[in-house]
Symmetry: C2
Subunit: 413 residues, 2 copies
């Protein structure tokens, strides 16, 4: 019980960083002042439990415990950064649960209750959210060699501050070199409501939804908002509005749960009350459990784009694209996690993840297990996000069991 109490005590501490007064939420975007403070606190916590703290060149924060000199590391963690005005659980729960799972296993190793084939490492990945600097999952992207360090460091926020400048401001850029990862485990809140509805404590994530994300530039022409004849206008914001409505109509043409679409980010110029917008940049996502649905939906959307160009006389260009097919997690990892849940008497089931996670990057370089705990009503990226203490503790105990087996070398690909 003392492990669980220690976790909940530290959890209350962590929730204070970037806390939004009058809510249960937090505002701690990547490399913000609040992120800097929680990182300092987290480093102290790791050190108190005997872990060595290091940071790499993109600001990933590691807590390392070498028990088998020279051996690869079992790595476990998530991210402490948040969306603007977000919940306190997204990412942060996984980081703290990983730390406490490792603290407990370190204690078992010291008292010879467990044997180790590998070393132990906890990680707080930099900028998973991507709300301040793009792309998302930046730290794990650089760590796994999918994203160039220089391009990540030179990404700018909406105020033109680079990731490098922001990391330096909170003194969180380091020089740690990459190390061998024996296996990776991550636990996260579900951000959906299926587990709550099905009464499941532990989600065994077996695949990621397929996705197609793209950025569009809509180009019209500045004009006086009152005096210009309506038939002369080339209104970029009208074109953008029609794209947003079209994306939602596309979703509604499929059965529920088959296609999720969203437009949540949009910049317009000149954004003056009396001048028709000449340019709008917006970001649209299509997501589906089926890669086929993504392909047909994208084709439909392209033909809608053509129709909107005709109708509103604006130009519309796809300026960036990023897509992935439905993407499985290794089945022997899912099975290992299932056995741990079974032995602990925790209700469990396979689930898919709609959202991307750092494990999406890690699973391409190391055997990876992804776990979920329930999220009340699936509320996410919202100050009302909630997971009960009981569910957090169940997840902590399950993750501890998983990491124990990873350290013992039970999971290799």
């Amino acid at each position: 019980m003392k492990h669980e109490e220690a976790f909940l005590e530290d959890w209350s501490e962590l929730a204070r960083f970037g806390a939004i007064r009058g809510t249960q939420g937090v505002y701690r975007q990547a490399a913000s002042e609040a992120d800097g403070k929680q990182r300092k606190w987290f480093a102290g916590l790791l050190q108190n439990y005997g872990f060595t703290v290091q940071r790499d060149a993109i600001g990933n924060q590691f807590g390392l415990l070498e028990v088998v000199p020279g051996a690869p590391y079992v790595l476990t963690g998530s991210h402490l950064d948040s969306q603007p005005t977000a919940g306190r659980f997204d990412g942060a729960y996984g980081v703290l649960a990983s730390a406490h799972a490792c603290f407990r296993i370190a204690e078992e190793l010291r008292s010879k209750q467990t044997t180790a084939l590998y070393n132990l490492a906890v990680v707080n990945w930099f900028n998973e959210e991507g709300s301040r600097f793009k792309p998302s999952m930046m730290g794990s992207g650089v760590f796994t060699g999918k994203l160039a360090l220089n391009s990540a460091l030179s990404a700018t926020d909406p105020h033109g501050i680079t990731a490098q400048e922001a990391l330096d401001k909170i003194n969180e850029r380091g020089s740690m070199k990459p190390f061998d990862v024996a296996s990776y485990a991550e636990i996260h809140v579900q951000q959906g409501r299926s587990m709550e509805e099905d009464g499941i404590s532990i989600g065994l994530v077996d695949a990621t939804w397929a996705a197609h994300k793209f950025e569009l530039k809509v180009v019209g022409d500045q004009a006086h908002s009152g005096a210009a004849l309506m038939e002369d206008r080339r209104d970029a914001l009208l074109g953008a509005a029609q794209l947003i409505v079209a994306a939602r109509e596309l979703t509604d043409s499929y059965a529920p749960g088959k296609l999720h679409t969203a437009c949540c980010e949009l910049y317009l110029y000149p954004n003056s009350p009396v001048t028709v917008a000449s340019e709008v940049d917006l970001h649209i996502d299509l997501r589906s459990p089926s890669a086929d649905v993504i392909r047909t939906a994208y084709a439909s959307f392209l033909s809608r784009i053509e129709a909107i160009k005709q109708q509103t006389k604006v130009d519309i260009e796809v300026t960036a694209e990023h897509k992935w097919d439905q993407n499985p997690y290794p089945n022997n990892g899912v099975e290992l996690a299932r056995r741990v849940a079974q032995e602990a008497g925790l209700s469990h089931d396979r689930v898919m993840t709609v959202a991307g996670h750092d494990s999406t990057n890690l699973k391409d370089i190391a055997p990876t297990i992804m776990l979920f705990v329930p999220s009340t009503e699936g509320i996410s990226h919202n100050v009302h996000e909630h997971t009960s203490d009981q569910d957090m503790i169940a997840g902590l105990n399950h993750l501890t069991g998983v990491v124990r087996r990873l350290v013992a070398g039970e999971f290799t690909q």
Copy 2:
């Protein structure tokens, strides 16, 4: 001819302030650095012609010539501030034409060719555009007592800078007291294409279109853009997009020219690629030559708002409104301007103005005449805005004739 040449020479000078490289356009929003520079240049020009330069507490810039000690002033002018990436003609043409009309009349007065009942004043109104600080027509609003000085000075731009701070930065706030205005005349580019199509040199503006402008706040709920079930979402940006499309559909339900609608300004929060927007603020305009059309269109739009609230589960609130009926200019002023055009052999006709102008404020405190010159294809608030030298000179000569009669006391209400 020397008056015309002097005008065109100064016109070339003026177009250099805030010029956008590679275009014919300018970027000189109210109290920007470029606005500060053009104001210094304009003050020098006025002084060179023997006018005294003063500024009032909201930064209106006046060039005064007292010829009849203690008498009221005939005032003429427009505004030098621009929209972002705008044309060089909007406002600036009227200010420089007014100055040169007054320079010529001052010369005639000195050489006793003309007699004066009133004094002469040129004005450059502060912040007519309203793109940086709201409301628009700010300087003339304060001058005519329609807008409180303190509320104008405390208006903030999107970076939180107040109008007072911005004016102080360019040292353009003064202490000149209000003075009696005998009459007011303003000339402006049309910002529509009817005069060009009808082959008219001088537009005698006889009324302003009716308008209803309102700001809307759309409130939804933050959610994960991928993971949240579509049926759970309350997407403020989807609600806003439907409002923008609805405004255009409303226009299309009337005959061309009966109803202009626009949404050109929109702010969303949190504007993150993976978080459904919880809040969007947007600005919508309805304009029509008929106040009845505005009333029925507004009623239709309100019922569309209700339908969009139902359909998208967002809340929509009208947070600010500003409206006016079709608003005539005094008929004896229109007739005076008609006679001047006729005597000079300039083609002319009555036109309405869709856009608001500083004269819209002035006509409520003094006998006011509003004049237009043609604008190529009606392009406005756009770097491609254009009026030919010939049309500018015709307007200058006509305005000079009008101001000559005003100074002689031919126009009172």
